[in-house]
């Protein structure tokens, strides 16, 4: 609980200055990145209408996928390959999608598959830019609220570069230094060969880990250098780095609402959004801890808590908190095996993702997801004040609700259809290592994680079969870019509106009343959508 309390205090202290700083980056004049604009021919003042902005996002994603795919497939021809072969096509496709969509689902073991060049120039680069894309889209949506009668939502290239150069890079740099100082490995050497006590030999692959670790968490990416991710002592040596990694992955998502509040000129609106996120997150973290500590299963009962699958150096609570944080944000880094959690503890990690990665969610994507939920809430409950619903002065009419509904539909449809297809399909079932509700939960988890761009895994299934590589790859791609298109379209339609001035007849969206309503609507909508699936998985396993 000390960990939780100190995290809350740290985030409360930091979210304001960081949020304000990000506000200045996205709204202020160009700074250091000016040189980069000139180099790349970007004219930051050229405003784009939403379709142009969306095309830029998609074009950038397409090029990124091709580059990451190409580097993996040609690995054996390139330097720093550590002697690894070319990555097989299905894995390479899945990985390319996975890193470009900020999911960082890994169907491979990093230390045995990717050389340093791929890790650094393909994966680490995407760790930065995929996070910056999410932030850019969120900023575009917020501009939709701030602009009046405008047909543009910003300039994607400028937003992408600003976010990367002035926000992610400096923080990741400091983060990497701190992690390296705390014992995370950062070197460029070839694998060490060491003799083990038992007399065998072991490869110890080092590498530029601290650098990747920082952006892995900061950009809510989650793709580990090692297969075991943050459970590996080279990635996450002890409780101190564990705390810091959790802090890093929560940092931007919890600060972005402040940026939002500043941009719309009403910081209290940002407070309301952050309060919704924090309420959901705290509930989730506490419940996960309760389920894990009370250890409701046979073995945990015997030993007093659910220690299976958790690192002794972290213990139950730090592992549970990390698991909740990594699934609440779209990070997906893990320091323990979520598969080994108690059924209900595991269900919490599933539920966290099913919320749609909004509490606080990914960098940028958390904010835009939460704003969509706020819009849906305003529409459903806001009618009860007797006016056409409006949020931040913008009317929520047919077009807005269509886009918000479409956004909300994407991930549940992907998760449920994907899981349903897997259960109805020989290739889907063949990959299962467990049967019964637990085996089912593993499949459900895989699709939930992919469609919500989380990237963590319950494991327990052979994910590198062509069927899963393709199915999960499609889930990741659609789960990322369809919502982005809807968000940008929404930004466009909001920006074109003239705001309605607030009056006593306007639904106030900054009070606890509204916060409670968004929390309620979110939980109810998610529960209603996923209850049958949860009943057949973790609930069937966990309730006796």
């Amino acid at each position: 609980m000390l960990v939780l309390a100190s995290l809350v205090v740290a985030l409360v202290l930091v979210h304001r200055p960081l949020g304000d700083y990000m506000y200045r980056v996205y709204t202020g004049p160009p700074g250091r990145e000016r040189a980069l604009y000139r180099l790349l021919g970007v004219r930051p003042d050229t405003e784009q209408p939403w379709p142009v902005y969306a095309r830029a996002v998609l074009a950038f994603a397409l090029v990124s996928v091709l580059v990451v795919y190409g580097l993996q497939r040609l690995q054996n021809w390139l330097i720093l390959s550590l002697g690894f072969d070319a990555v097989p096509a299905p894995v390479a496709w899945n990985t390319a999608i996975s890193f470009v969509t900020n999911t960082n689902w890994q169907s491979y073991a990093g230390e045995n598959t990717m050389g340093h060049l791929v890790q650094m120039s393909a994966l680490a680069v995407q760790n930065f830019v995929s996070a910056a894309v999410g932030m850019a889209v969120a900023v575009a949506l917020v501009r939709g609220f701030t602009r009046r009668g405008s047909d543009t939502v910003g300039n994607f290239w400028a937003d992408l570069i600003r976010g990367t150069v002035r926000i992610l890079l400096p923080i990741a740099f400091v983060g990497a230094l701190i992690l390296a100082a705390a014992g995370v490995v950062q070197n460029f050497t070839a694998p060490h060969e060491v003799a083990t006590i038992a007399g065998g030999t072991q490869h110890l692959t080092g590498g530029p880990i601290a650098g990747q670790e920082a952006i892995k968490e900061l950009g809510t990416n989650g793709g580990g250098f090692y297969n075991t991710n943050s459970a590996h002592p080279f990635e996450n040596p002890g409780p101190g780095t564990n705390w810091f990694e959790i802090f890093l992955l929560l940092l931007i998502p919890f600060s972005f609402p402040r940026t939002f509040g500043r941009m719309v000129g009403q910081p209290r609106q940002g407070h309301a959004i952050v309060a919704v996120m924090a309420t959901l997150a705290l509930l989730s973290v506490i419940l996960t801890n309760v389920f894990e500590l009370s250890g409701d299963a046979t073995v945990p009962h015997a030993v007093g808590a659910a220690m299976e699958g958790k690192e002794v150096r972290f213990g139950v609570s730090d592992s549970a908190t990390f698991a909740a944080a990594t699934t609440l944000t779209s990070t997906g880094a893990t320091n323990s095996a979520h598969d080994s959690f108690t059924p209900l503890g595991g269900m919490m990690t599933l539920l966290n993702m099913m919320l749609g990665e909004v509490a606080p969610g990914g960098t940028g994507s958390g904010l835009y997801g939460m704003l969509i939920l706020a819009i849906l809430t305003v529409f459903i409950a806001g009618l009860m004040v007797g006016r056409t619903p409006e949020y931040l002065g913008k009317r929520i009419s047919a077009r807005e609700i269509k886009l918000a509904s479409l956004y909300f539909l994407v991930t549940p449809v992907l998760v449920l259809t994907g899981t349903g297809l897997a259960m109805a399909n020989r290739s889907g079932l063949a990959a299962m290592h467990n049967t019964g509700p637990h085996g089912f939960s593993e499949i459900l988890y895989a699709f939930t994680s992919a469609a919500n761009n989380n990237g963590s895994a319950f494991a327990g299934i052979t994910a590198d079969t062509p069927w899963y590589e393709v199915a999960l790859g499609l889930c990741m791609a659609f789960g990322r870019f369809l919502p982005i298109i809807f968000v940008l379209a929404l930004a466009g339609s909001l920006a074109a509106q003239k705001p309605v001035p607030a009056s006593a007849g306007t639904l106030p969206t900054h009070r606890p009343q509204f916060v409670g309503m968004v929390v309620g609507i979110t939980v109810i909508l998610v529960a209603l959508t996923f209850l049958p699936a949860l009943a057949l998985g973790p609930l069937a396993e966990g309730i006796h």
Partner: protein
């Protein structure tokens, strides 16, 4: 004009049943995606029940059909309430003939074109909407307004419009037809009250999209549950097949039951009834909304433009005080003022008589030998000459110069009194007398606009609702300000010309506000057209009626406030029932999920918090609840959620508590009660 009647009169429900059954036609039902899915489900369960008959399957089938029927019933009842009214309007529209001006040719009224001139004489029905171009007549408009007292219509000015179907009682008029064939006011009214050409309003469309999205999600959730269920059954081979779950998965009947229970049937069923009832509530207050959009916009209005005269103040100025000059007693002044006004039949004059009677106990007297001096634009005063005495009252300058002419010396004091009254927004009338050779000023009558009772509270209410009120008046700014302050409006527009009004509306709209106003004159037409909610008075010109999007048959400008409240009530009712509908789903899951899966995963029986008797009874109870709640909520949908003007936050808190929390709790109780009954049916437990 239409009796509200009992809201859930069983006879009304029964008489609407045939109409409700007709609406089951899929060709019309598909417009309502939620209920269309229910109907498809009902058809599917019917087929399944025929293939594998069981009491349970037939019971579910029956209730699914009832669900669809109940939804249609809601709409049919709502429409039925307008039907009676339409019938009486049709009676007014019986085949009339028209006599053309000059040619005197008699043609069928249906063949009239805009611009035709027709002659109508006493006892004849006016053949179509138009403006009087010649003559004056008293007209019986009871067919439309329900008001039996005849009204005067005359050429020129703001009372020139006549409506087809009304009857000329006296005199002869020539009317220029303004309507196109088949688009007369009565035609539109009939279509309106019948809901025949009802278009979905913007907010209704948006809500429909949301409901369709929710339906889609639940469709995906139920369909994808099937392979998961098959898997669950397969990995528990020891569990015997149940009625709900076999090796082939969840039975079709149960799956469809779950789907119908989850999709938002409650709001889906009542949505159009809410809209129709909203229009109907306006009709009951004698307001015709010519578009549903306008009703909705009324709820969003944030600026109300109110004409001073007739809306905020009683029609005319009234005597409020007698201020005597030095050396004159108040009684003396009152007596003189009354005497001078006895023959004055203007409202102001009458109010002086009444004020003198009530304030000073002076009764009206019959006087002989009096000679009345009427008001003229030249003299600007009126009065009376009795033997030995002349009394004049009128505009300050006129009366004072009359006094001076006859040798009197009105002092500085009078001028001060006059200025004081003017400054306070009142109108001063100076009273002077001439007895024998001397003349003097007796004092000043303070005439003022009397603000209608309760307006101040009304405006405070508006402010709490977030609505700004702006008073429109032709008065000078000084007078306007005084009345605005007294009435408690937020702002005023003095010396307003029609152009000023239009400019004001545009300015408000530029700032994102929605504006409502009333008007009657032709020169109001541009502003009425520009306003988001333009209520034309039925007494007004046809240009005004054409430009506005609502017509008030009672021609009562205060009604604008009620219209706003009805608009809000419409939106609130929609929101409340949507929230209720979604909140209901929680309990239904708790009924159905354990009913299906507790056999394979006994732990899930813990979710059966209602302790329902058996899987069959649980599912049936949920389906029955889902159907019955529609019927139970029809009265609420028709009457609308009770609306008390208050701030948005308070309104929300109250409704959220009632319909959100109530929506969560009600089905737990309802399903349990139904379960207690259905468990005794054969084949259910």
């Amino acid at each position: 004009m239409s009796p509200p009647g009992g809201l859930l009169d069983p006879r009304q429900l029964l008489s609407s049943l045939p109409d409700a059954a007709k609406k089951l036609n899929p060709l019309t039902l598909w417009r309502n995606p939620v209920m269309f899915i229910v109907e498809i489900g009902a058809v599917a369960t019917t087929v399944l029940a025929i293939l594998e008959p069981s009491f349970f399957a037939w019971a579910i089938t029956a209730w699914l059909w009832l669900t669809a029927l109940f939804a249609n019933l809601a709409e049919a009842v709502a429409e039925g309430r307008g039907k009676a009214q339409a019938a009486s309007l049709r009676a007014a529209k019986r085949d009339t003939t028209a006599r053309m001006h000059e040619s005197e040719a008699v043609i069928n009224a249906a063949d009239l074109r805009p611009g035709d001139l027709v002659v109508v004489e006493a006892g004849e029905i006016i053949p179509g909407d138009g403006d009087i171009v010649e003559g004056i007549a008293s007209v019986d408009e009871s067919a439309i307004t329900g008001e039996s007292a005849p009204v005067i219509r005359e050429s020129g000015g703001d009372r020139s419009a006549v409506t087809g179907g009304t009857k000329v009682l006296s005199d002869r008029i020539v009317v220029r037809i303004t309507q196109k064939p088949g688009e007369s006011f009565i035609d539109r009214m009939i279509a309106l009250v019948e809901g025949a050409d009802r278009q979905k309003t913007p907010n209704e469309i948006a809500l429909n999209i949301l409901l369709a999205a929710l339906t889609l999600i639940f469709l995906v959730a139920t369909v994808t549950m099937q392979p998961m269920a098959i898997y669950a059954k397969r990995v528990n081979p020891g569990v015997p097949d149940s009625l709900a779950l076999t090796a082939d998965g969840v039975s079709g009947v149960v799956l469809i039951s779950l789907l119908v229970c989850l999709i938002p049937t409650t709001i889906g069923a009542l949505l159009s009834a809410i809209g129709i009832a909203g229009m109907d509530r306006l009709v009951q207050r004698n307001v015709l909304a010519l578009s549903g959009r306008a009703v909705e916009a009324a709820g969003d209005v944030s600026t109300l433009l109110l004409d001073k005269t007739g809306t905020i103040t009683l029609g005319n100025r009234q005597a409020a005080a007698f201020v005597p000059a030095t050396g004159v007693s108040p009684d003396e002044l009152a007596a003189a003022a009354q005497l001078a006004s006895l023959a004055d039949d203007t409202p102001e004059g009458r109010s002086i008589v009444v004020f003198a009677k009530e304030g000073f106990g002076l009764r009206e007297r019959k006087i002989t030998g009096a000679h009345w001096a009427p008001f003229t634009a030249q003299t600007r005063m009126s009065g009376v000459d009795v033997p030995d005495r002349q009394i004049r009252k009128g505009a300050a300058s006129a009366v004072m110069s009359w006094v001076r002419q006859h040798g009197g010396h009105p002092g500085e004091q009078i001028k001060e009194l006059v200025d004081g009254i003017s400054a306070s927004g009142g109108t001063p009338l100076v009273v002077g007398e001439r007895v024998g050779g001397t003349s003097r000023v007796l004092g000043v009558i303070h005439l003022k606009d009397v603000v209608k009772q309760g307006m101040r509270e009304r405006f405070a209410e508006m402010r709490r609702m977030g609505i700004r009120t702006i008073m429109i008046t032709g008065d000078n700014p000084l007078t306007a300000k005084a009345i605005a302050d007294e009435a408690g409006v937020d702002d005023f527009l003095a010396e307003a010309t029609p152009e000023d009004k239009l400019k004001l509306i545009k300015k408000e709209q530029e700032g994102g506000r929605l504006v409502a106003m009333t008007g009657d004159g032709t020169n109001d037409a541009p502003a009425l057209a520009q306003a988001d909610v333009g209520v034309a008075m039925n007494t007004g010109t046809s240009a005004a009626k054409e430009a506005g999007n609502m017509v008030d048959l009672d021609s009562n400008p205060t009604k604008l406030i009620e219209i706003v409240e009805i608009g809000k009530q419409l939106l609130i009712t929609r929101g409340a029932l949507t929230t209720f509908s979604i909140a209901n789903d929680i309990a239904k899951y708790f009924a159905i999920i354990p009913a299906i899966f507790a056999a394979v995963y006994p732990g899930l029986d813990a979710l059966n918090v209602m302790r329902l008797a058996s899987p069959q009874s649980a599912i049936l109870a949920a389906v029955i609840f889902n159907a019955i709640i529609i019927v139970l909520l029809i009265p609420l949908a028709l009457r609308g959620v009770r609306y008390r003007p208050s701030s948005a936050a308070d309104l929300l808190a109250r409704n959220l508590y009632r319909y959100g929390l109530g929506g969560v709790v009600a089905p737990f109780v309802g399903i349990k009660i139904i379960d207690l009954f259905v468990q005794h049916l054969p084949g259910i437990s």
